[in-house]
Symmetry: C2
Subunit: 222 residues, 2 copies
């Protein structure tokens, strides 16, 4: 019907659910999941809170859905990195860069990820499980990089904690309405942090924000 | 009196206040400042909640005091680093290493620092101001390092956000009862993350956890 220009009912439901998750992630990130209300999410979407309740049963469900969405983005990005990269280091670089970029585009800054206290019970266990799997994949890539000569001798857990800390901290300082694009920030921060692992660290950084930086501007406020 | 073996009344008051802040930081870090109660802090100290109210007027006061204590530790550590280091890079390394170590020793893992939503009103503004000053000092050291040749050409803000993200993330994964000492963790994580900034990155990492790491253990759980 209509040459598939109009999504069918099931597809529409899914599109609405996606829209809700994305709006919720932004609201939760801005106000903290404790302070945010479903009303705020509804307002952002321009629908009534009652309409929202047709798709989610409560705030906890929605918090859980945001975390699941984030982990799905992380996993897909890492798989793409594994396929496109030649060495362990390249796979990590690509996997993290794409995760950060996609995350910022889809869910806004990933502040929610920092608030694991907001998760309770079985839901928390499930998310922790997904996160452990993801960290294990990253550690395996660090080991792969040590074997293929792209990464120095390093404790893999410390390396992965550094990478994740740097990535997630972006939520604390990045502003979508600021001077730096998500693209530029992803390039600059991942290029810099992965350099610490490189067996042969490049002598210069090549991403735009580093190339354009002028020493001496450090005193100015952001 | 008593050859100063017993602190005088004012000193005792200050010692009690310090003990309260330290206990509170640990309780807040474990349960999140939203979930934690003053009762929990009192219990940890083995005193009544009523006794606690002689020193703090409410939970918000205590959250603020924890943040102020953390910023004081950060500032002192950075000043010590500036005095002991020769180059910008060394000053950063020493300043951050000592901050992390002292923080973990005094306040437990610095989870509270991540929860800035818990701060409100004027208190929040004051803490943000202290934090901005601290970040400005770190950025100035990055610039100093670029001038003295110890640090590569880099956007100072991106560099500082990487450092702070890596440091604060420690709160998410470090366990005081785990296999790694605060000393070993501070050495390993700061050595690794500062390598990304080095104009001449060392070919090998020298801190204990990295030297002792065996590639191939990445699949095991922590």
């Amino acid at each position: 019907m209509w040459g598939n220009a109009v999504p069918n009912r099931a597809a529409q439901q899914e599109l609405k659910r996606q829209a809700i998750i994305r709006a919720a992630a932004r609201v939760f990130s801005r106000r903290g999941s404790h302070g945010a209300k479903l009303d705020d999410v509804a307002e952002r979407l321009g629908v009534s809170t009652a309409a929202l309740y047709r798709y989610v049963s409560n705030k906890n469900d929605l918090i859980l859905a945001c975390h699941e969405e984030a982990m799905e983005i992380a996993d897909k990005a890492l798989t793409a990195g594994e396929e496109a990269g030649d060495t362990g280091l390249e796979k990590i670089y690509l996997g993290l860069r794409n995760y950060l970029l996609e995350m910022m585009a889809v869910l806004g800054v990933p502040a929610l990820i920092m608030e694991e206290n907001a998760l309770v019970g079985d839901a928390a266990e499930r998310i922790y499980g997904l996160r452990d799997d993801y960290e294990r994949r990253l550690r395996a890539l660090v080991v792969e990089g040590q074997r293929d000569g792209s990464i120095i001798a390093v404790e893999p857990k410390i390396a992965v904690f550094m990478l994740l800390g740097t990535m997630h901290w972006v939520a604390k300082w990045y502003r979508e309405d600021g001077a730096w694009s998500a693209d530029d920030v992803s390039d600059a921060i991942i290029e810099l942090v992965t350099r610490s692992l490189a067996a042969k660290p490049p002598k210069t950084l090549e991403s735009k924000l580093h190339v354009n930086a002028e020493p001496g501007t450090a005193g100015k406020s952001r």
